[in-house]
C-alpha cells in the first residue's frame, strides 16, 4: 500500500490503478470528462468547425505557456510576456511596411532580447524574477505605448505578409501548425539538449547543480530567452490575425499562461513538469472557455466557473508528493 497522505483526491484514486500515473494523465482525464459532458450538452461541440476553434486558439495560448513553462521549470516566473506580446504586435505592423519579411526575425529577436534582459536582471543583478519581470513588463508596455499610443492597422498593400500566418491549411488555421512546430521544437530541445537537461536540474536543485559546475547564468538566461521568443511569436500571430496591433493586447496572457502551465500539473517551485503538461493545460482552458459558450452558460456565471475550474483542476493534478511544503 502506498503512502497516500500527501496526495490529493484525484491522485489517491489513481494510486489504486496498476499504471504509473503522472499529473498529466489527470489533466487528460479531466479533458475527457469535460469534453464528454459538453458534447452531450450540445452536439455541435464536436463539429470540425468547433474543434478547429478550440485547437487554433488553444495553440496560441499554448505557445505563450510553453515559454512560461521554461521559466517556471528553473523556478522563476515571467510576468513580462504580456508586455512583450503587446510590444511585438505593434512593432510587427510598423516593421512589415518598412522591411517586409525581415520583420519576422527582427520581432523574434526583440522578444529574445527582452528575455535575455530579464534573465540578466535575475542572474547578475540578482533580483527575484517575479519582481524583475513585473518591472520590465511595465517598461516594455510603456515602450509599446511610446511606439504607438493607439491601435494601428496595416495598410492593405502589406496584407500579403499577414496572410502568411492568418491562413488555413487542410481546414486548420495556421496558428495550429505554428503551435505544433513550436511544441515539437521546444520538446526536442528540452528532451535531447544538454541545456534542456540542465534546466530541469537547476529547477529541482539549484545548489547541487551549481556545485556540479552547471553554468547557471547561461541556462537561466536561455529559459527566459525562450519565454521572450515564444511571446514574440504570439505577438506576431496576434498581429497577423488582426492585421494590426495595439499596446494592450497582451495583458490577458500573463495570468492565463501561468494558469495553463499550472493546470497542466507543472509545479511553480520548478524542476517538474514538461511540455506535454502545458499542451493539455492550454487545451483544458481553451476547451473550458469554448465549452461554456457552446452550451450557452450565462455570462454572469462564466468568470466564477472558470476560476473554480482552475482551482479544481490544480487540486486534482497537482503533484504533492514532490513538494511536501506548499507555499
Amino acid at each position: 500500500m502506498k503512502n497516500t497522505t500527501h496526495m490529493g483526491l484525484g491522485r489517491r484514486v489513481f494510486a489504486m490503478l496498476p499504471v504509473r500515473l503522472q499529473p498529466v494523465h489527470l489533466t487528460i482525464f479531466m479533458i475527457i470528462v469535460l469534453g464528454t459532458v459538453l458534447a452531450l450538452a450540445n452536439s455541435t461541440f464536436l463539429s470540425a468547425y468547433n474543434i478547429n476553434t478550440i485547437l487554433s486558439f488553444g495553440a496560441i495560448l499554448m505557445i505563450v505557456a510553453l515559454g512560461q513553462m521554461f521559466v517556471i521549470l528553473i523556478g522563476g516566473i515571467d510576468l513580462s510576456v504580456g508586455g512583450v506580446i503587446s510590444f511585438v504586435s505593434v512593432l510587427f505592423v510598423l516593421l512589415v511596411g518598412e522591411v517586409g519579411y525581415f520583420a519576422f526575425p527582427i520581432c523574434l529577436f526583440a522578444g529574445v532580447m527582452f528575455g535575455l534582459i530579464n534573465g540578466l536582471i535575475l542572474t547578475i543583478v540578482k533580483i527575484p524574477s517575479f519582481i524583475a519581470t513585473l518591472g520590465t513588463g511595465g517598461i516594455i508596455t510603456s515602450l509599446a505605448y511610446l511606439v504607438s499610443p493607439r491601435s494601428i492597422s496595416a495598410s492593405p498593400s502589406d496584407y500579403g505578409y499577414f496572410e502568411l500566418i492568418d491562413g488555413k491549411i487542410l481546414g486548420m488555421s495556421n496558428s495550429f501548425y505554428i503551435g505544433v512546430a513550436t511544441f515539437l521544437t521546444l520538446g526536442a530541445f528540452l528532451r535531447f539538449s544538454i541545456t534542456g537537461r540542465n534546466i530541469y536540474y537547476i529547477g529541482s536543485n539549484i545548489r547541487m547543480s551549481w556545485m556540479s559546475g552547471t553554468d547557471i547564468v547561461r541556462n537561466r538566461c536561455i529559459a527566459f530567452m525562450i519565454s521572450g521568443g515564444c511571446a514574440a511569436i504570439v505577438g506576431i500571430i496576434i498581429s497577423s490575425i488582426r492585421y494590426g496591433g495595439d499596446p494592450v493586447v497582451g495583458t490577458p496572457y500573463v495570468l492565463n499562461s501561468i494558469a495553463a502551465v499550472v493546470v497542466g500539473g507543472t509545479a511553480l517551485t520548478g524542476g517538474s513538469g514538461g511540455i506535454v503538461n502545458v499542451l493539455f493545460g492550454a487545451l483544458f482552458l481553451s476547451l473550458l472557455d469554448n465549452g461554456l459558450n457552446v452550451v450557452g452558460v450565462d455570462q454572469y456565471f462564466q468568470q466564477a466557473l472558470l476560476g473554480a475550474m482552475i482551482v479544481f483542476g490544480v487540486a486534482v493534478t497537482f503533484d504533492r508528493s514532490k513538494t511536501p511544503i506548499i507555499k
Binding site: S142, F301, G307, V311
Partner: protein, 325 residues
Amino acid sequence: MQALHSSLRWIRRSGVATQLISLALITTIFFIGTAGKSLTMSNIQVILSLTAIPAILAIGVHMTIVIGGIDLSLQGVVALCAVFTGTLMANKYTTYDVGLWIIPITIAVGGLAGLLTGLTHTKLRIPSFITTLGMSFVLYGVAVYINKSQIVSLQDDRIQNFIHAAPFGIANVVLIAVFVTTFVQFLQDRTPFGRHLYAIGGDEALAKQLGVNVDRVKTLAFTLAGCLYGIGALLLVTRMGSATSRAGLNLLFPTITAVVVGGVALTGGVGGAKNAFLGALILAVLNNGMVLMAVNPYAQTAVNGVVLIVAVALTIDRKKLGFIK
C-alpha cells in the same frame, strides 16, 4: 547626541533603513525637480491621503507574502466587498440600510473570503499562487453577478465625511491607515501569532517540527488579509460615494509592487506592516512627483518599472536568500 545615536540604531535595526533612504532620495529629487512645489503642506496632505488605502491593501497582501505565499485574490475580494457595501448601505436600488453596521459587515465579508481562500490553500494543499488566482476569478464573478453592472450611489455619507475630515490636521483616512499599520505591526512583534508567521516564512518545515500549527496560522494570515481588503474596499467605495464591482480593478500589481518596494521579500520571513506602509508611501510620492513634474503619461509605467527594479536591487538582502529565484 545620545538620542541621535539610539534613533539611528533603531532605524538600522528596524529593517526600514533602506526604504527611508530611498524615500528621502526620491523626495529630494522631486523637491528640486518641482522647485519646491512637492513639499508644500497641501501637497503633503495629498500624498498622505493617497497613501492610506494602498497601504492598507499592501499590508493585507504582505501578510500572505511574509508566510512565503502570495495573494492574487485582492481584486476579487475588493470587488465583492464593494458590491456588498453598495447593496447594503442606503441607496436607490435596494431597500437595505444597515447604517454603520456596514463596517463590521464588509470586514467580515472580506474575512470570510480570505478564510475560504486560506482553507482551500491549506486543506486542499494547492499552492497559494494558483488558489488565489482562481479565487479572484470566482469572487469577481460573484461580485459582478450580485451587482448586475450597476454603479450604486451611496446616500449615506457619514463614512465619507468622516474619512475626509481632518480634526488633527491630517485626514482621518491617513490615521486609519496608521492605526492599521501599528496594529498589524504589534501583532507581528508582540504576539505568538506574529512569531509563527515569521517562523513559517523563514523555514516552514522547521516551524512544523517545532510544533507550530502551520495550517491554522496560514489560514489566519489569509483571513486577516481578507479583513484588510474589506477595510480597503469600504474606504475606496465610501471615498467615491459610489460602489461598483470595478472597485478593485488594476489594484493587484501596484499593491504587490508597494509591498516589494517596501522591502518585504517574496521568499517570506522578512518585513513587516511598516515596510508595506512605507512601500505604499514611496509609490505615492513617486506618482505624485511625476504628475507635478508633468512626466509624459506614456512613460510613467516605465518609470514605475525602473523604480521597482532599482529599489529591490538596492534593498534586497542577498545573503539571506541564497539562490535568487
